[in-house]
């Protein structure tokens, strides 16, 4: 719970939790019709690992993240955090959504404080809010309201709001999807350095193949709906990585091929 305080000296395999997805299937009822979304998905994530989930739009990756977060129970199968079944939301698994979804009636500081307040420990832990704001470089905006922030700043606040809880698994649902490409590149670097400093396990849904291979240890490629795992690719490259690395370029080409999109390479 005090990973933020010891940020810097944390070793990347102590803070993160392992995640096991075992034969998970899920479906939605839409006007009486059953729409299968996930079909017998199984994979494991080691503590501190950074796993990217890639797949066609609408294939069910975000649904999988909702299951990991505990916002919904799966129709079949089990999800486990450190071996314990996930039955509901818990602040050790925090989601950063595509939209920052900051509460417009709260200042930046109080948005970041949300998790601690919800858990009833804000009074004694106020310094963690300040530390999280420092971490994303927004201490100067603590009293600003969300409508005064740019898209990139808002997403950094939402990152701080997640990190203040010292998540053991950080679930990133296309967090950079709506940002311009320059902000996106600098945020990728920021997420990477936060991950290296605090050592959480990261699960990232993205549509950007370059982003996936630049950030992750492993890339899981999903099929069309209902989603199955098509490929499990290790990105065997040390950090810091370089975007121009020919190894990563090859990997991108292979993955685009798996998604049937390599015609323009």
């Amino acid at each position: 719970m005090v990973a933020l305080a010891r940020a810097g000296q944390a070793t990347p395999d102590t803070a993160g939790a392992s995640l096991d997805v075992e034969h998970v299937s899920h479906a939605f009822d839409i006007d009486g019709a059953v729409l299968p979304v996930l079909d017998d998905v199984s994979f494991g994530v080691k503590p501190g690992e950074f796993v990217a989930l890639l797949g066609p739009s609408g294939c069910g990756k975000s649904t999988l993240l909702r299951l990991v977060a505990g916002l919904e129970p799966p129709r079949a199968g089990t999800l486990r955090e450190d071996g314990e079944a996930i039955t509901g939301p818990f602040p050790s698994r925090v989601v950063v959504f595509q939209d920052p979804t900051l509460f417009p009636w709260r200042t930046v500081w109080h948005n970041v404080a949300l998790g601690l307040e919800a858990q009833g420990i804000l009074k004694s832990q106020r310094h963690r809010v300040d530390a999280a704001l420092d971490l994303v470089g927004l201490s100067g905006f603590r009293n600003a309201y969300p409508h005064q922030l740019s898209g990139g700043m808002a997403q950094r606040v939402s990152l701080a709001r997640a990190l203040v809880n010292d998540p053991r698994i950080l679930v990133l649902d296309e967090p950079l999807g709506k940002l311009d490409s320059l902000t996106r590149i600098s945020m990728q670097t920021e997420i990477l350095s936060l991950w290296q400093r605090t050592g959480f396990t990261a699960l990232l849904v993205t549509h950007d193949v370059e982003e996936a291979v630049f950030l992750a240890n492993r890339v899981l490629v999903f099929s069309d709906r209902p989603a199955r795992i098509k490929a499990d690719i290790a990105v065997d490259r040390p950090y810091p990585r370089h975007r121009g690395d020919p190894y990563l370029a090859d990997l991108r080409r292979n993955i685009l091929g798996l998604l049937g999109l390599d015609a323009t390479w």
């Binding site: 939301p89 998790g115 307040e117 919800a118 309201y145 809880n165």
Partner: protein, 346 residues
């Protein structure tokens, strides 16, 4: 920057700094007067009103004509002094300059009213009393008027507070809980749209006192819009907010108190505003019909005696009170909803 501000800045301040400060008021009038032009004209217009009061003899018997003229002269002098002293008075002057066109128009209107009623009788008496007879009500009938104001405010405040509180709680409950919604929604649809005044006859004989009956009716008139808008506010809160709060460890009570209610507050204030309007209507009708006190009763009483000046006096007071109540509500809203962009200025 408006022509008005420019000319004023050049004439009085003759400094760029002052000009910038004045342009902050950003008044755009299509006129270009020399320094404090409209202020001087407003001052002259009030002198004119005072003179009009004294020049002709009154055609009726009113005791406050002289006092009214003196008051007009004093006001005129004050306007003149502030205008001439200009920027040395800072905000006082800026405020006066902003209101000078209105002060001018008001003086012209009063002069016309004075001449048309008390002096040349263009408008028939007693239906159109002159300004001095309205002033006479404020000076000579003050205790009764104050009693009425006090009674009205007391009745209104009690009923409104009860209605707003009950409406808010009902709205949150319907918006939050399906079970409550199942039972309350049909009742709300059946009873809510009924104008609260339609309950008057029943209320006055079922309640132990006319005061409690009126409180009930005012609460009813307030409660319906507050309930409906609170409910729609809570129901329209985006699920994404709940998801965020839940993943951060929020319990249901937190979701209601710290997510649903703050997110619904803009709606709630629309409901409070609408409730205020309809509760004023109920207040006046209730006082006219059943309650033997308050401004509504005063109006009724004045009409019975053909005391039209008293009616105008009471109407002015009532308008100030209602407007003041709405101002207070908007202040509270601006304070609570600072996070909203572009709220309407009342």
């Amino acid at each position: 920057m408006s022509t008005y501000s420019v000319s004023k800045a050049v004439a009085i301040a003759q400094s760029a700094e002052e000009g910038a400060a004045l342009s902050g008021g950003s008044l755009s009038l299509p006129v270009s007067f020399p320094s404090g032009g409209i202020g001087v004209f407003a001052s002259l217009a009030w002198v004119g009103f005072g003179v009009a009061c004294l020049w002709w003899p009154d055609i009726g018997d009113w005791s406050r004509t002289r006092e009214l003229a003196v008051a007009a002269f004093i006001l005129s002098g004050a306007i003149f002094v502030i205008t001439v002293a200009g920027s040395r008075l800072g905000r006082l002057d800026a405020g006066l300059q902003r209101r000078a066109p209105w002060l001018l128009a008001l003086a012209l209107f009063l002069t016309l009213w004075e001449i048309a009623t008390a002096k040349l009788a263009w408008l028939p008496l007693p239906f159109f009393p002159p300004p001095q007879s309205v002033i006479e009500v404020y000076t000579d009938d003050l205790p009764k008027l104050l009693d009425s104001v006090f009674a009205s405010v007391k009745l209104q405040l009690g009923g409104y507070a009860i209605g707003a509180a009950v409406g808010f709680l009902t709205g949150v409950s319907i918006g939050w809980s399906r079970g409550v919604g199942y039972w309350v929604h049909p009742v709300l649809r059946f009873i809510g749209p009924l104008p609260a005044t339609a309950w008057l006859p029943i209320a006055f004989f079922t309640f132990p006192s006319s005061w409690s009956a009126s409180t009930f009716l005012i609460a009813l008139a307030t409660g319906f819009p507050v309930t409906v808008l609170t409910w729609s506010g809570v129901a329209s809160v985006s699920n994404a907010y709940y998801d965020v709060a839940r993943t951060l460890g929020a319990k249901p009570s937190f979701l209601v108190l710290k997510v649903a209610i703050p997110a619904a507050l803009p709606h709630v204030f629309v409901g409070l505003f609408m409730g205020l309007g309809s509760s004023f209507a109920v207040l006046v009708v209730a006082e006219m019909i059943g309650v033997k006190a308050g401004l509504g009763w005063y109006l009724q009483w004045a009409q019975g005696w053909a005391a039209y000046a008293n009616m105008y006096a009471a109407l002015i007071v009532m308008s100030l009170l209602c407007s003041g109540a709405i101002t207070l509500l908007f202040r509270a809203r601006d304070h609570l909803l600072v996070w909203q962009k572009g709220v309407v200025k009342w």
